[in-house]
Symmetry: C2
């Protein structure tokens, strides 16, 4: 059975969908996207994802031909047609054909649905190891399709025995390639980065549940040195909600603490869906 996607203004089997070899997305890496999780045929937090998608499009000067309502309708059509139990929806705006190879004239929407593992109902008990790397994403407030460094670093990451990369820029924490980063101070304050990174929808949800449940939390600059005194660390994404971190470079963190902030926040996130 084919999975269907939206490409070239129609719903087609994914094998038959292609981006023209003359497209700015192919030739110049010029595009944006957003990615959301679908559970029980419901696209989760789609309004927040569309807010970010349209914001990315505006900054990158990639006008979207469809309205938000039209995009939601296409997403619902794909969900109904594909009947995947758990899945992710990727919405892409490709730069489009540029007769001069440079000027944005025909940006276009692609929507892909793909199966995805369901996150567990409670916080995972095992944690991952992060390896820090000095890198600043370009145009960091935008979810561009630029993952050149992330893909390129995969062999290096494995050499470090790590499961993911934590970008810092000259000693100041930014983000993981596909996740935001949080840690808990020795004063039990949950902290996340504020600038020069992509603001995730799960990150936004966490900030909101912390506010409404009286969990002490700060958005601010984080130095790499501070990680040594952290009680707990975790990363967040739409696909996994929260993944605990057991180690960053040479610093190990205790998992499954009785007072775990990650656990408390995870349960509140599950409640939002």
């Amino acid at each position: 059975m084919s999975i269907f996607c939206f490409s070239n203004n129609q719903i087609v089997p994914i094998e038959s969908a292609g981006v023209p070899v003359t497209d700015l997305l192919v030739q110049r890496g010029y595009g944006i996207f957003d990615f959301l999780r679908v559970a029980g045929n419901q696209p989760l937090f789609i309004d927040a994802h569309l807010d970010r998608f349209f914001h990315s499009a505006e900054i990158m000067r990639l006008p979207i031909s469809q309205t938000r309502a039209e995009i939601k309708k296409i997403v619902q059509e794909l969900i109904a047609k594909n009947q995947l139990a758990y899945s992710g929806i990727r919405m892409i705006i490709a730069g489009g054909d540029a007769p001069d190879g440079y000027t944005i004239e025909h940006p276009h929407l692609i929507i892909i649905q793909a199966p995805l593992a369901e996150p567990t109902l409670t916080l995972p008990e095992t944690g991952i190891k992060l390896a820090t790397y000095n890198y600043q994403r370009q145009i960091p407030a935008v979810k561009t399709t630029d993952y050149l460094m992330a893909v390129w670093l995969q062999p290096w990451m494995k050499e470090q025995g790590a499961d993911d990369i934590l970008y810092h820029h000259d000693g100041f924490i930014r983000e993981c390639p596909r996740s935001n980063f949080f840690f808990v101070t020795d004063q039990n304050v949950l902290v996340t980065t504020q600038e020069q990174m992509l603001k995730g929808i799960t990150r936004k949800n966490i900030i909101e549940v912390c506010k409404s449940n009286g969990i002490p939390m700060e958005e601010r600059i984080i130095s790499i040195e501070e990680l040594k005194t952290a009680k707990e660390a975790f990363i967040t994404s739409s696909t996994k909600r929260i993944i605990p971190v057991r180690q960053i470079d040479d610093y190990a963190y205790m998992l499954n603490r009785p007072d775990s902030v990650a656990k408390k926040v995870y349960d509140l996130l599950v409640g939002l869906e």
Copy 2:
């Protein structure tokens, strides 16, 4: 009449060639390319371009399925089939389908031919204006498909009344998005950048003709301050050979000097083809 390209291991009309929406090139911007000019049905300096293409592929861990001889054969087939008087050949390695969305498993070759204007036989008499911008290309020794910043900066560049962008990194000159940069000192020494930029084939040819013709020339670090004392400046690329620069930000340069190094070098470059 269709123009033909090489995609999915066959020669097909360009309209029917597409990169799968699941490809790493589309989803993660992971790919490399090279671009060369074709004149009189001859692909110019193809060995040097293939050297660089295979080098880019090696650094980016994108194995090329075809041998150099096979690629040359495909290029010749396209040239014979398309019969374009003057053209450019773009060879791309796309990251390919990655079942996990991240791991390079099926990189593949795409070759596109497109019409191109023939450069003039003598150095153009009019020059362009460059606007400097603080930016360091990521993985700068590799011709990746990442032109996110270059495309994004086009409106800014036009606001500056400029024709192209000159990247510097914290005051040290790098390159233009699609060209290398040269200037002539008040001591009549031709100078070009040496590090943290892509080494062009025209740049390589210029260094060689300078050596074999006794034209004083240096590859070294260039500070943005030095541009104020330059006698002459120009940019170089495979499509245009040399374009004189009449202005960088607020500094103007005299064009068509009787002792122009650009003119001397241009004539030597034409002789190489």
